[in-house]
Symmetry: C2
Subunit: 202 residues, 2 copies
């Protein structure tokens, strides 16, 4: 981890890691299937940190927008130290066959845990949406989160100011859209969305 942070992902060599750990190169490969697999520890570590930070953000308010923004902003804070080499990290996650992909079966545990956070955002809030949409919302919010992660990866502003601004703007918007989903004229479109989601899942 120290090497990754000081030299970046590509700058860190397996030989360097082995040296630093006081073992041979071969031994490093005995414990880790490859260089990519070293990041899985990092993945879980960040997941856990986000879980804790999110729980913190969720206490004290039932306003949906605040809860959502809190959770999204919590992730940005947790992830900030790793931003500079998150690009190469994301690069590996983008490959569909990679077990590191957020959509892969191998990371379904972490994914479910992350979705659970957003279920908690919703459950503890005052937001009322149309019933058909409700069960899909945690996963949709997680998808929004993934989109924000993508934005974050490309965000070169200092302190990830832009991503935080996005979270600050997007949370009330989702809140508003959720409430709108109950208005009759809008409900038709929401129903279409829901049946599209369900047909894709099948």
């Amino acid at each position: 981890m120290r090497l990754f942070r000081s030299k970046g992902f590509d700058g860190t060599t397996m030989r360097g890691i082995a040296d630093e750990a006081g073992v041979s190169l071969g031994s490093a490969y005995y414990y880790f299937a490859g260089k990519e697999h070293l990041i899985q520890a990092f993945y879980g570590q960040m997941q856990e940190a986000h879980l804790a930070a999110a729980a913190q953000a969720l206490t004290g308010t039932t306003a949906f927008a605040d809860r959502l923004e809190g959770v999204l902003a919590a992730w940005v804070e947790v992830a900030e130290p790793y931003h500079e080499f998150a690009g190469t990290f994301f690069k590996n996650a983008a490959e569909p066959t990679s077990p590191l992909s957020p959509f892969s079966p191998e990371s379904s545990g972490a994914r479910e845990a992350s979705i659970a956070i957003f279920r908690e955002v919703l459950d503890g809030s005052d937001l009322k949406v149309t019933p058909a949409l409700r069960p899909h919302l945690p996963e949709l919010l997680w998808l929004l989160h993934m989109g924000m992660v993508l934005f974050w990866v490309y965000d070169a502003s200092d302190g990830r100011r832009r991503t935080l601004a996005l979270a600050h703007g997007v949370a009330p918007l989702v809140d508003k859209l959720g409430r709108l989903s109950r208005v009759p004229v809008v409900r038709g479109a929401v129903t279409d969305l829901v049946s599209l989601l369900e047909s894709l899942r099948a």
Copy 2:
């Protein structure tokens, strides 16, 4: 290109390419800055094919949903032959610092051309949206397209059946949402969205 299709991106070596081209390894690097830069030709090639296929799909109908689905489906058809190595392709494109990234300055030309297609989808259609949203719509549709590309990369169904189903479902939905944007209750949320987009651009 032949090598990439038969062996995939990682399976194709610079030495193999040089041999196939009848030049030395060093010469390959004289003409291409690196392995990644070789894909830029492929990138442009597909872009061009999509442009032609999209133009085809846009003749004969002014119905927005049909036009949008046509353009989205056209991309799926054009990209189908390359699906199996598109994963490794996108892996390299996903890195923010990579010039192959769809968001990078280096590929702004291709990006603008792609956005222009969606502007054409909109301009030649009967869709009426709230004026504030209109100028942002081509770029938003392009973003939707990027999302669909992501879905496509992960789509393992034969003939990319699922991606086509998504396009078939999503196009009428966007149509409906666009029309809804003019309804007073909804317009407030749309205004929020627009100002969020504009604040992020600044």
